[in-house]
């Protein structure tokens, strides 16, 4: 019985080891996202939003280039809100592909765990007193849809 279980643990460890050593970091566009700061193309109504801090590279900021994809390279901010609160996102396009969508700010009028990612400890601590993080069924990103759409509209403009 335990032997069968060990087989699955071993299979899993081997699989992850193979994928990791295949070196995804150096071959994927995501690596570019860390090495060259994306151009800030536009900021809309979000003066206090911090830009994603990937500014340590000494290479000059590239100007946005029309990529083969349908989106122009750059970082775009968007915000969305509904009756329970709001969110702000910074969406990064590299080589025409969406490479990341960082949540730069979120707030709620009352405690709503669906959109508490930025300060999980504070929100969770209020709810339960003493847990660091909550495991539950995977939430969808519906709460972020309008913010993401706003950022995408700028990337297409």
């Amino acid at each position: 019985m335990a032997k069968m279980g060990h087989k699955m643990v071993t299979l899993c460890a081997v699989a992850i080891g193979i994928v990791y050593s295949a070196g995804y970091i150096v071959t994927e566009p995501a690596a570019l996202a860390q090495n060259s700061p994306p151009a800030i193309v536009s900021t809309q109504k979000t003066p206090n939003v911090p830009t994603p801090d990937i500014s340590t590279s000494p290479s000059p900021t590239p100007s946005p280039v029309a990529a083969q994809g349908q989106y122009r390279d750059g970082t775009y901010n968007g915000q969305g809100s509904n009756r329970i609160g709001g969110v702000e996102v910074a969406l990064t396009v590299q080589q025409g592909k969406i490479t990341s969508c960082e949540i730069t700010n979120c707030w709620t009028h009352y405690s709503v765990s669906a959109i508490d990612p930025v300060l999980p400890r504070e929100v969770v601590a209020r709810q339960s007193g003493k847990v660091d993080v909550v495991s539950g069924a995977t939430k969808s990103t519906d709460a972020f849809r309008s913010a993401v759409q706003q950022a995408l509209n700028q990337a297409q403009a």
Binding site: C12, I18, Y20, I25, A31, E102, P120, R121, V133, T138
Partner: protein, 310 residues
């Protein structure tokens, strides 16, 4: 309690795989080093998603699904993800099955969460019964052959794999957690130098936790029927029994603790589908611990699960 010195920590959130991924690093290392590792950890999610997402026509898995009946050379990431999914399917006698994509598409689970575009894969065929035995993996050649038109869904496996890769980027810090929408890996100690406390969400009450766990260097994953609903039929959630093609209703949520997130996610899905008694038995066969909650809020646990409860 908690009067000790609090260590420095950094928290960031990004959207990947239609969920919020939050990473927290507790460390006295230089900020630049912490940020660089965090960026690499997030790039693991980008990489796995770009290979394994069936919602994107350009992903490697979508391109594989367009070539039926011929062996297709694939990347290490796709081969290992499909291979592990196949092994779990075999181990659980099909309670977990990566060919469930067909059924999920027919219930309308086919929209890209960032762009909103709906895609119906060319290999979609709701009328042909398929299962994991229709996938042939060739280890020597690193090829995958699909015997019938089918839609591979690596949802659970892919997210777990990304978490496990991110763990490798963060393992040298004093403490960290990766929370991929409820799929969690808690490494080292929290900023109070204690093992991490992980709450299990109450399946009925969004704001409450039903139990707390204390652990370190372990993954925790919860499969629940209370978040994702079919846009076509509101009674339909995404945890569908591969044998009957209908949603499982004997469980509300199932939480599994495992050394890897890829295992925790696959087995929480399988145990959820199997229901309380068979599900818990399956976890014990796999050498894992877990807790399953039924619609009457009755709890079933593996024998060793209590050691994690706070």
């Amino acid at each position: 309690m908690r009067t000790k010195n609090v260590k420095e920590s950094l928290v960031k959130s990004q959207l990947f795989m239609d969920t919020v991924v939050t990473i927290k690093i507790v460390s006295s290392h230089a900020k630049a080093e912490i940020e660089e590792s965090m960026a690499r950890a997030f790039s693991a999610f980008y990489h796995v998603e770009s290979v394994c997402s069936r919602f994107n026509n350009q992903s490697e898995i979508s391109r594989l699904s367009t070539q039926i009946g011929t062996p297709v050379p694939v990347s290490a990431t796709l081969f290992e993800a499909v291979n592990f999914a196949w092994e779990v399917a075999d181990f659980t006698e099909g309670a977990f099955d990566p060919t469930l994509g067909n059924t999920l598409v027919s219930y309308g689970f086919n929209r890209d969460y960032l762009t909103g575009y709906q895609s119906t894969p060319t290999s979609f065929n709701a009328n042909t019964p398929v299962n994991y035995l229709d996938i042939d993996l060739n280890k020597e050649e690193q090829t995958i052959l699909l015997r019938k038109p089918l839609v591979l869904d690596l949802g659970a496996i892919a997210k777990g794999l990304a978490v496990d890769l991110a763990v490798k980027e963060l393992a040298h810090f004093e403490g960290f957690f990766i929370d991929a929408g409820g799929d969690i890996f808690a490494g080292g100690m929290n900023e109070y130098d204690e093992p991490w406390r992980v709450g299990i969400r109450h399946p009925d009450k969004k704001e409450e936790i039903i139990r707390s766990l204390q652990l370190t260097n372990m993954a925790v994953c919860t499969s629940g029927s209370y978040e994702r609903r079919s846009p076509i039929s509101k009674d339909v959630h995404h945890l569908i029994n591969p044998h009957s093609s209908i949603p499982q209703s004997d469980s509300l949520s199932c939480t599994v603790i495992a050394p890897f997130a890829m295992m925790a996610d696959a087995f929480s899905t399988a145990a959820f589908i199997l229901g309380a008694k068979k599900g818990i038995h399956q976890l014990e066969l796999a050498g894992l611990d877990g807790l399953l909650i039924t619609p009457t809020l009755e709890m079933f646990m593996t024998k060793e699960m209590r050691r994690y409860l706070v």
